[in-house]
Subunit: 273 residues, 2 copies
């Protein structure tokens, strides 16, 4: 999105810009789009979660850094909008895709809220949203082609969404036979919910359904493991893990000691090969 | 995925490679990942739908080109695998993400099928899958942050999937309150299905729900329009269009004559601002 929020008042010159970018799952160079790389290079100010900013080398991201902790998301938005309103070229750094389980919608929600309160802070800021490779895409490709047919993404985090809403989505995703990507699957405070989700999948899908489990996707430390649904152990999963549960057609194929998983597009008589 | 399909037989030297890449929605330079760009640059042979290969300038993609038409997907796979089996460095070019409604899963299905038939053609090929920005990501960002909370992707094409399977997915996506990205939404042969899907959404979601409609995403010809669900006209939609239908929380915000749409992560009392 490139949206200039200029007021019609000629006294209001275009001020700064706020670009929300996704740097890919772990900020690895090979998966970061050129648009995002260029925006980061040009930024006067980089705002983001400390862990994400630390993924960016000073040589490619020379701007001033404004670190925030987890849980400081609202303050992060206000700070970024405030800097842009001062006329600065600001980049909000997110992992994955800046619009998927990231800061994109909160930035817009914050600006909309300002506007409703007739706070003119955000007026005149040029807003740009840039997509990036999100974890499920890197995981699907590393495992084979898990997202080869209709799929959904569900965050299991109950911090901002009631557990009942998430559970309703899980049950409909399973009933609709969607391939299902699970973000924020498990935390210390939420140790058993993922197991309940997996149990529900097991009750409705074959025990041989492939489940891809990925960590540190795109980095040198990347691990991707394929489990049959019937054998997955959720104890090893944490918040830095992404899972993809296959649908009724997904399969694991072994060849020469290697395994890959894919979801075909054709079904039954419509299979192509 | 980097998988060497070497047989244990030492007489079988590693042969060629087959890399399935996604070049983003319209092959625009700014959204193509460096890994994909490098693979295309290094390719001895580029295999793909003519329309996608034509998006790549000879200066960045100097390899031999093997054009295929729409509907020739199986032949495309066999040809690419055959070239790789001859020891060549082959890239299969897809638009968007090579693993999402593209050739990734068909390549794996073809190789698995070969293996079952003990056809050794695919043995020894190094297979690599590389993700790319898919249309819904570019559309969501161009519109604001439509994919800001749980979402699904559904292809309305009935060529490979029975209409009943698709309809079941649509109804569960609506019942689960997923943001819904619709690929291949409408063709001349399938002129009314999209309208039925939209009618179903209208029966269950507010008439003010934002719907983003995008074409030629990422290119100079990009068009992105936001409609309220109650007012969208499906007659103008074709196979080159991507749609995103918001969920119950998605909203359109207008400021200084610009409109953007987003889906907040927080619900009700959990809203952040």
């Amino acid at each position: 999105m490139r949206t200039s929020l200029d007021s019609a008042d000629p006294a209001h010159q275009p001020r700064g810009s706020l670009t929300v970018v996704g740097i890919g799952p772990t900020g690895c160079r090979g998966m970061m789009t050129p648009d995002v790389r260029e925006a980061i290079w040009q930024a006067e100010d980089l705002v983001g979660f400390e862990g994400y900013l630390n993924l960016l080398n000073k040589a490619v991201a020379p701007g001033n850094r404004h670190h925030f902790g987890l849980g400081d998301e609202v303050a992060r938005c206000h700070h970024a909008i405030g800097l842009a309103a001062e006329g600065r070229r600001v980049v909000m750094v997110c992992s994955g895709d800046g619009g998927i389980y990231a800061m994109g919608s909160l930035v817009l929600e914050t600006i909309a809220s300002h506007h409703h309160r007739e706070d003119r802070l955000a007026q005149g800021i040029e807003l740009v949203m840039m997509p990036g490779i999100t974890a499920m895409q890197a995981l699907s490709a590393a495992a084979g082609a898990m997202l080869g047919h209709d799929f959904c993404a569900i965050s299991l985090s109950t911090l901002l969404t009631p557990r009942e809403t998430i559970w309703k989505r899980v049950t409909h995703a399973v009933a609709g036979d969607f391939v299902m990507a699970l973000y924020n699957p498990r935390s210390r405070q939420r140790a058993t919910f993922l197991q309940e989700v997996i149990d529900h999948c097991r009750a409705h899908r074959s025990a041989t359904t492939p489940v891809a489990v990925g960590r540190a996707l795109g980095s040198d430390q990347q691990t991707v493991v394929l489990h049959p649904l019937g054998e997955i152990n959720t104890e090893t999963v944490d918040m830095h893990t992404t899972l993809i549960v296959g649908n009724s057609q997904s399969c694991i194929h072994e060849m020469a000691g290697q395994r890959f998983a894919y979801t075909p597009r054709g079904y039954g008589g419509a299979r192509l090969v």
